[in-house]
Amino acid sequence: MPDALPDLFAPYDEHTQPQVPIQHYAGTYTRNPRRPPFRRPVTRTELTGPLDLSAKLHPGDINLAETNGKPAQGQLIYVTGRILDEDSRPVAGALVEMWQANAAGRYFNPLDQRDAPLDPNFIGNGRCQTDATGRYGFFTIKPGAYPVPNSNKWWRPPHIHFSILGPSSLSRLVTQMYFPGDPLNAVDLLLLSIADREAQQRLISSHIPTQQIEGEWLGFQHNMVVRGRHATPPL
């Protein structure tokens, strides 16, 4: 039997979450409802979630920095951190998915038609499962910045997309991780869509001192907190 699973889910604090629409991002105007969401009782369907997803979503893609033994272009980085719940408890066994652009700021996805080079040795998506301490880790390359089409020169800062599943439907999280010290962070419209400045800053990773990393990887540390508490707090 694992640690007691989270069973207390309060609504998000709106100031810590993005608000829509977002200028120059057409989808935020056409794909978000006009009607405010209805508050529903939290029933068993919402409290539960799949605990055996790894049978379907296979973990194990943690090295994105090479394909078929050939190295990807770019600065080698190691991104690691812990998935925690609101009670600071590690979320063990969570599935962590990530995807990102290549060093030139282009996605492998055929929907990305920008005129920047593709890297045949970089696909740019990974999936792993957190260990008993809630830790995940990916070896990859630093993504490039890229301009948003028809946006009056809005460039997305280098970022990594994250998707976290488990252990409840209500602890689902999709977010993005940014890199410390990038001047584009302060003017990124997606980061700025979150009103609370501390909440913005929590999406920015931190450097790991180089002495602490084996091999020739630059390290970045990034913890992510998913929603959920336990009704009986730990002593």
Binding site: L5, R39, T45, K56, L57, W99, N125, L173, V174, L190
Partner: protein, 205 residues
């Protein structure tokens, strides 16, 4: 990151999946809730159905490359999760979770079973499937729920459907849509943004 007891950490801010959620994340069978793994045999419990529809945006155009995640009880209304008091009785051959994405027309499709009803502390839950919708420009998951028209009495008593004004409840009923390969087909259209009488009702995540 240290926190005093009773001083909870704040959940991370959501961000959109953007336009480039990897197609390579999808494996054969991800949208098939009846199997616990792609090569596993389908569950023998419950009526297998096809649930499909289109995700449309304001103006009626397709929402391309949206991701839909489904979660539901098994045929007898159990979840394989410790917070279900009946979890030991849950169908071991049923996953209950699936993921689909929308094509260029905004079309998605799941294969699943009609879920069972169950008694919840909030009231009697009618057969239902929770859907979470992600997409480019959707900054936070949109949560909605599929109900079935053949369970009219159970729907009337459902505590979640009850939070909607009566005139909006039909928007959450899947529509019978014929048969395919001997399976009943249900259609669940999703309109992300539109006029009040047609926009899909969503629940606070």
């Amino acid at each position: 990151m240290s926190a005093l007891p009773n001083s909870p950490l704040v959940p991370a801010g959501w961000q959109t999946i953007g336009p480039f959620f990897p197609r390579t994340f999808f494996n054969e069978g991800d949208n098939d809730l009846t199997r616990i793994a792609p090569t596993a045999p389908p569950t023998a419990l419950g009526e297998t159905i096809i649930l499909h529809g289109h995700v449309l945006q304001e103006g009626g155009g397709p929402c391309v490359n949206a991701v839909l995640e489904a979660w539901q009880a098994d045929a007898l209304g159990h979840f394989r999760h410790p917070l279900d008091p009946g979890h030991a009785k849950a169908d071991p051959a049923f996953m209950g979770w699936g993921r689909a994405w929308t094509d260029a027309e905004g079309h998605f499709e799941f294969r699943t079973i009609i879920p069972g009803s169950f008694a919840d502390t909030s009231g009697p839950r009618a057969p239902h499937i929770n859907l979470g919708i992600l997409g480019s420009g959707i900054m936070r998951r949109l949560c909605t729920t599929v109900f079935f028209p053949q369970h009219a009495a159970a729907n009337t008593a459902d505590p979640v459907l009850a939070v909607l004004p009566a005139e909006l409840r039909p928007l959450l009923l899947a529509q019978p849509d014929g048969e395919r390969d001997g399976l009943r087909v249900f259609r669940f259209p999703v309109l992300l943004r539109g006029e009040p009488h047609e926009e899909t009702p969503f629940f606070l995540d």
